[in-house]
């Protein structure tokens, strides 16, 4: 055990004994330094973080709720069988002809609210949740560097984004295949592609939507470092995602639109054109990368310089 470890442990035990908040010291924590010698510690932490996240009841319930949306859409279309009235979300008219469209309709419904909501809950909970449970100190003295903890938390949030998107797409494809016939898919351009090709495109879209949510995850991570109240961080993240979408719909602010992390959210449809329009994929990835860099650095600045009291 290195000297800094001993110091950290001593500080932690002192905190427990006196039952008074003792700040985890900034300098001796040096978790990054101590951990750098043991890269396996980082992977172990990642594995435990992921298993904690995905075994948590809340996470499972959120994923189930997301899976319910394509099911509801498919059942509603199946039961009503009123045909397309020209209203409702995009692609909904095509469902009765091809079950694979259930996944697309469900994604279109989930992107504005449900996905940001669940991602906001997970990302907002990252640091603030540990702080409110009082486990943050123990994580940091275990020892885990603050940078490493931040990275692990962000990766876990990204893993949730991917899981959430995949759940919607996979549930949509399965329920669509169960209730409707599946066949060649008509793209937006009017061209038709085979089932295998269209499943590939569905996976591409899942990837696109996951990338789209990276910026929001980074924002949530940063907000989570600001507070010890996880609910506040979650709510703030969700509100920011809604504000961004409202701003995106105001034509008077068109100069701002390319800078909003939500601007390319619905452009996943560009993957449904023939030939695929990759430019929005690229712009979206670049934009999200910018958000991750800026808010990741902000989160580092805040988290690395703050006194952890709980």
């Amino acid at each position: 055990m290195s000297r800094s470890d001993a110091e950290g442990a001593a500080a932690a035990s002192a905190g427990r004994q006196t039952n008074a908040p003792v700040p985890v010291p900034l300098t001796p924590a040096r978790g990054a330094g101590a951990g750098a010698g043991r890269p396996s510690a980082g992977w172990a932490l990642m594995a435990s973080e992921l298993s904690v996240l995905f075994r948590r009841k809340r996470t499972v319930v959120m994923l189930l709720a997301l899976a319910l949306i394509p099911v509801l859409v498919a059942v509603a279309v199946r039961v009503s069988s009123a045909g397309s009235s020209g209203r409702g979300p995009a692609f909904i008219g095509q469902i009765s002809e091809n079950g694979l469209f259930v996944a697309l309709v469900a994604l279109t419904i989930c992107i504005p609210l449900f996905l940001p909501l669940t991602v906001g809950v997970v990302a907002g909970d990252t640091i603030a949740g540990e702080a409110s449970l009082g486990t943050l100190r123990y994580l940091l003295v275990s020892p885990v560097g603050r940078v490493r903890l931040l990275v692990v938390k962000f990766v876990a949030a990204v893993a949730f984004c991917l899981a959430a998107t995949l759940v919607v797409v996979v549930a949509g494809v399965l329920i669509g295949a169960a209730l409707f016939r599946v066949g060649p898919v008509t793209l937006l351009s009017g061209d038709t592609i085979g089932v295998g090709d269209s499943l590939l495109r569905a996976l591409l879209i899942a990837g696109y939507v996951t990338v789209s949510l990276l910026g929001l995850s980074a924002i949530g991570l940063f907000i989570s470092t600001l507070t010890d109240v996880p609910v506040g961080a979650m709510a703030a993240t969700v509100v920011i995602s809604i504000v961004a979408q409202v701003l995106d719909s105001l034509d008077q602010l068109s100069w701002l639109h390319p800078w909003l992390f939500s601007h390319y959210w619905l452009s996943f449809a560009d993957l449904l054109r023939q030939p695929i329009e990759w430019s929005s994929f690229g712009s979206n990835a670049l934009l999200q990368l910018g958000y991750v860099v800026v808010f990741g650095a902000l989160a580092y600045g805040r988290f690395a310089s703050k006194d952890v009291l709980s």
Binding site: T186, S189, G190, L266, G290
Partner: protein, 411 residues
Amino acid sequence: MAQVFKRWIPAAVAGVVVAGVAAAVPLAANADPGLPSKTPQEVVALAANSSVTAFSGTVEQTSDLGLPSLPGGVGSGSSGSGSSGSGAGGSGDAASDAASSALELLTGTHTARVFVDGPDNLRLQVLDQLAERDVIRQGDSLWLYDSQKQTALHATATGTGSSAPDALPTAPGETATPEQVASKLLSALDPSTDVSVGGDVTVAGRSAYDLVLTPQATDTLVGAVSIAVDSETGLPLRVEVTAKGAGDPAFTTSFSQLTLAKPSSDLFSFTPPEGTAVTEKSVDVAAAADRAAAARAAHASGAAAASGAGDATGSDSTGSDAAHRPVVTGSGWSSIVELPAGSDSAALTSSPLLSQLTTAVDGGRVLSTSLLNVFVTDDGRVFAGAVPAGSLEAAATASAAATPVAPAPSE
């Protein structure tokens, strides 16, 4: 404290780097390419002799004509509900569709992909959010496909003549590609236009000459038209139309990306997907050529928007009787297009959206924009041109006097 301060350094650096990259990329794209200087005549000749026959690219079209922006989907929403009705009202729906698509042209931004291979093969994809409108032309056959409404229109040219492909409309009213607009503008150059060459520009990553057309006429709303002509191939890459006295262009169509390679031939063969309502239509070449000529004349007036509206309304008038042909009066930039009273103009007057945008004047209603005015008389005639509203009213009075058959509204 210094320690704490240091931890914020990455945040500051990240912000600066991201802002720097965001600012530097457009600057680099607009760097002066330093082309050898050319006279306006040489640039016009360069554009006229453009050898490009096959390319694919992305076109951005922006209109800022001073009309209030419509919330997304107003036009398509109303037409969508219209198309779900019974087929009996088909022609009325088509007309109101045309009106709303003409209106769509006058507001906002559109992105389209263009694939061209020779004069006979063209595919234009208007990229809407979660939807797409396609124009596919292969030889004498033309498809218009709308993914949102799941409708397709198949037009085939009937009759003979080498101009058959030209008779088919090549673009929906909403979008005009730079080379289409520029060729119409340049083919109508006359002494009433002052031609000069501005500074070199970079469009879609290619260096280009900036050809500036300034109308000499005083009675037009067009202040200047700037055409970016590719320095290598002569292909027009961008057209900007600026209203008189305005700083920013009111109408821009520009390539944002361009590849001078032959597009895949699969793109030009189109089979309507299952579940699509297909309308077959044959276009009489002679009548269509007349309409195209009138549309070209309107284009020549400089207001690409004006002819867009003319195309949109004109393309739906299948009846090719002479009474419904547009009439062009005046010449050059100040020419005025007159559409006689008919079902087309009824759509213009009956659309609630349009009646909100227009203002009532003596004898009709005027839709006024910075680049284009449209005057709809009470008896249904439509006058459009890149001229002040007063000129349109004068033209309407003159036209009514010339054709006493049309009863003048009683005073």
